[in-house]
């Protein structure tokens, strides 16, 4: 049941990301629905589940993006792991943790993509890209993250609970 939910959410998020999300642009940035889904699920169900969503979502995103395969899977895994680390390390306010984690995960995700582009020999101007894209995108995702966490928490509550095995 959880796997089916994960597959459904990830596929829907990826399809909407490459079709609808770019039209939701505000101040030059648009939300990353798959980052929101992966990080939100990490906060709800733990880093292990979030990493599985990151792998599936990342490989699907790689099919829609130019360049080598695996790049988005790597970036999303980093973002999910960073979100898991935040969750383990800070016992913040219920609203503040998703907000801060959403911003951090988006920055991590984009920095991995930028680093990979640089490593693969593509010249990317770091500072203008950070200013014009990464910062507004991080803010956008941070604002949406609490709502996404609430939504995913609601879905999680409707699923049959697992045994005590660590997630």
């Amino acid at each position: 049941m959880r796997a089916a939910l994960g597959a459904g959410v990830v596929i829907l998020a990826v399809l909407l990301q490459v079709t609808l999300a770019p039209s939701l642009s505000v101040a030059g940035a648009f939300p990353n629905l798959i980052v929101l889904a992966v990080v939100g699920w990490t906060l709800v169900a733990g880093a292990g589940s979030g990493l599985r969503w990151a792998l599936a979502g990342g490989l699907l995103l790689d099919l829609a993006a130019p360049g080598p395969l695996g790049l988005h899977a790597l970036a999303l895994a980093m973002a999910a792991y960073a979100a898991g680390w935040c969750q383990r390390s800070f016992h913040a306010e219920p609203l503040l943790l998703p907000f801060a984690t959403g911003a951090l995960a988006t920055v991590v995700y984009n920095l991995v993509l930028l680093g990979a582009a640089d490593t693969l020999g593509q010249n990317v101007l770091l500072v203008p890209v950070l200013q014009s894209w990464v910062a507004p995108a991080a803010l956008y995702d941070a604002v949406l993250m609490p709502a996404v966490v609430l939504l995913l928490r609601g879905l999680d509550a409707r699923l049959p609970q697992r045994s005590a095995a660590p997630r």
Binding site: T19, S23, L51, A64, Y81, S132, W133
Partner: protein, 274 residues
């Protein structure tokens, strides 16, 4: 309460496995030898994204509050497209006036629309803001190859990077790794147009006493052989000049609105020089 002591090493092991596997996949699939299979794999997602794009378009149209509002929006888009096409013509005429027409003819690019073109619909956009690409519904089966140039009625869109059987991914001008050699239509300054993920800017080689004016058009220069000469890239919005600088910069307004691009044209009979 989550048993953190066990969960943490498990998730760390999973993370390391995924990171290592993904990095290996990146290294393998970025090699030119695997460009064909990579394009084919990417093409697998195209039919699904095409269906969702159509659904989103229909939904978007349905959300147009009233039919009249939708019609007005369509009319507005049409007028905007016509306006962009007229602007392109003005820019090309400006360029034609300041250049030797014989030389332009000899170089074989008097107008981009003198080429053989293939119309294609945009069926998906890049998932992140750095690789600003679009996916089109034409691929290898329709004669698309990596490197082909994509334009619209308004000007340059970008170039094809990955090709599937019935779809292709086009890297646009605003992609953070996009570089296009250009020149300004009236002042004749040579420049490189640089994508920054959202806006585009231009690094200009200075000429003593020559300044590009806001509103001046930038066109592809053809230098480097990646793009044909004479395609409209954008319009100078702000020109930054500093006496102490070895290069000057300008902010450029792209000729195309990449957020609303729905139909593009692929130039089939012009291949980049390898």
């Amino acid at each position: 309460m989550r048993p953190a002591g066990r969960a943490q090493p498990r998730s760390t092991r999973l993370f390391v496995s995924i990171a290592f596997g993904s990095a290996l996949l990146v290294l393998l699939t970025q090699t030119p030898a695997l460009a064909g299979p990579r394009g084919t794999l990417k093409g697998l997602a195209a039919p699904f994204t095409a269906v969702v794009t159509h659904a989103v378009d229909h939904f978007d149209a349905g959300l147009g509050l009233l039919q009249d509002a939708g019609r007005q929006r369509a009319d507005n888009r049409k007028l905007q497209a016509e306006n962009r096409a007229l602007k392109r013509q003005v820019a090309e005429l400006q360029a034609a006036g300041s250049e030797n027409a014989d030389l332009r003819q000899a170089l074989g690019f008097q107008k981009s629309f003198g080429h053989r073109l293939l119309a294609a619909s945009v069926i998906a956009r890049s998932p992140d803001g750095l690789t600003r690409s679009v996916t089109i519904d034409r691929g290898r089966a329709q004669g698309i190859e990596p490197g082909l140039i994509v334009v619209s009625g308004a000007g340059l869109v970008g170039r094809v990077t990955d090709v599937g059987q019935h779809s292709a991914i086009v890297q646009t001008l605003v992609d953070a790794s996009s570089r296009v050699n250009a020149y300004t239509a009236t002042s004749g300054l040579d420049a490189t147009v640089i994508g920054e993920g959202g806006p585009i800017s231009m690094v200009v080689l200075p000429k003593p006493g020559v300044v590009a004016q806001p509103g001046e058009w930038a066109l592809t220069s053809g230098i480097g052989g990646t793009y044909p000469r004479g395609i409209v890239v954008g319009q100078v919005a702000v020109f930054h000049r500093r006496d102490s600088a070895t290069v000057e910069t300008a902010e450029l307004a792209p000729a195309n609105d990449f957020g609303s691009l729905s139909t593009v044209l692929v130039i089939l009979d012009w291949a980049p020089q390898r």
